[in-house]
Structures are given as C-alpha cells and as structure tokens.
Symmetry: C2
Subunit: 152 residues, 2 copies
C-alpha cells in the first residue's frame, strides 16, 4: 500500500507539472495501480451554462486515466502514452465531484507490452465510467491510447 500511495502522489505531482490546466481543474488521482486507475475532479470552478460540471472537465478526468494507466502498467522508462481517439457519452448532469475509473486486464496489458516490444508502439483501449457523489453514472468514455517508445 505504501508503494501505491507513492505512485498516486507522484502522478498527482505529474499532473501539476505536465498538464497544468488539468491541475487547475483540480483533477487528482485517487488510485493508480497496475490495471486500475481512478481520478476525481471537484464541481467547484468547473461548471457550465446550466450549473453542472462542464463537458470538457468530464472529458479531462476520463482522458487522464490513460496516462496513469500507461505509467502504472507498462515501463515508463521505455514508453510514453498518447491518446488517439476518445468518445464520451454524457448520461446525466453532474452537480457534485466526479470520479472516473477504469481497468485494464492482465491479458490486455500483456498484449500491449508484447506489441510495444516488437513494434516500438502499441495501442490499448480503456473504457471508463464517471460517477457523481451519489454513485450515479454521469458519463462513460471509450478511449484508444498508444504507447510509444521514447525517441520514436
């Protein structure tokens, strides 16, 4: 558990340094482990014209899972992640803080690791669920990410 908490702290420091606009939204990771990532974002300062959490903020808390998943599930000394394509479906308005969570199975991790070893790059797919403070699903996302070998 000590290691997991350190990973979360490191990834949250990474948001602040590397994706400042997500840090400004208040996006932070709450779990970062091989195959499992959860992030959250507050409603305060992030609302839209109807007083609920803005779509771009929901996108961000979902999209950012991919970076942490790549860091936690593959070798960050060898690969960095990019996002290729993301679809987000808005189900319900969110009036509270929102949590986004996703998983990547061991088979999918093994396949992407093998692809990246062979090709210097590899796609992986994340389906995320976004819930409000009451546990209601407010959005779902489907993202295609790519691992790339450094220098590629």
């Amino acid at each position: 558990m000590g290691t997991e908490d350190e990973t979360v702290s490191m990834m949250n420091a990474g948001i602040e340094r590397m994706v400042p606009i997500a840090h400004q939204m208040g996006v932070r990771f709450v779990e970062v482990a091989r195959g499992n990532v959860t992030a959250e974002v507050p409603a305060e300062g992030n609302t839209n014209h109807v007083g609920t959490v803005y779509a771009g903020v929901l996108f961000t808390v979902a999209e950012i899972l991919g970076g942490a998943m790549a860091m936690a599930s593959f070798d960050p000394a060898r690969y960095y992640p990019i996002v290729k394509d993301l679809q987000i479906k808005f189900r319900r308005p969110a009036a509270t803080a929102v949590r986004a969570t996703t998983t990547l199975g061991e088979d999918a991790i093994a396949k992407a690791a093998a692809d990246a070893e062979r090709d210097g790059k590899a796609d992986f797919v994340l389906d995320a669920e976004l819930t409000d403070a009451a546990g209601t699903v407010v959005a779902t996302s489907h993202g295609i990410y790519q691992l790339r070998a450094h220098g590629n």
Copy 2:
C-alpha cells in the same frame, strides 16, 4: 458585420461568465453566425506531458462550438443546448494556437427547429475540424447536441 461582431463579443463574455474553465484556457470565439462557428485557443498554459496542446483543451475548443451554434442558429429565448456525445480523433500533435470550425446547413437547422417546436427538444450533429497555425488538421470531432426548451 456589426451584428456578427456583437454576437462574437456576447458569446465571449458568455464563456467567461458561464464556462470559467474554458475562459481560463483562453478559448474565444472568432466567428459566430447562423450555421457557422469558429473558436480558437492558445497553446500557452494548455500543454501536456509531451509539450503539445492537451487533449482536454482540444476537446473544449471543439465542444464549445455547439453552444454558440445553438445560440446563433436557433432561438435562445426558447431553447438551451446540451452536449450528449462527442468523439474526438487526434490526428497530429498541436504546438501552436488551434482553431476549431464547424458548419450546420440550412436543412439541418430547419429540421432541428421543427423537431424542437414539436417535441420541446431536438438533436443536431456537428462535425468540427481543428487546425494549427499552419493549417494542419490536428483533430476532428463529431458531436451530438440537443436543444431543449427552457423549463424542460
């Protein structure tokens, strides 16, 4: 042209008041007219872990077109817009300011207006193209929005 400039100014004031995080990104409209909307966002402050414009910022400059399109093409005294579903495909990294532009044809405007008149709500679809300062397409988006009668 005077009217069009006033619409742009009004919509930019609207971003600041209604979607503060988009205002913080520096998102602003450059054209807002019936059937035609263009917005842009700077690269400064909006970068990611590889130094290019963060995906959530590209999402925002694309997504926000729908609100302005609704205001400019339908009756804002009767309807407000929401976004239901948006897919964004990232084609190239963007290292400069990015412009997002979309159009909605007269037939599509007429159909949505008739649907909204009849049902109190109506979907409309926007395909947007995002280009960098050199005119290179950095992303494309496909969004489904809904007009809703106030009070619905």
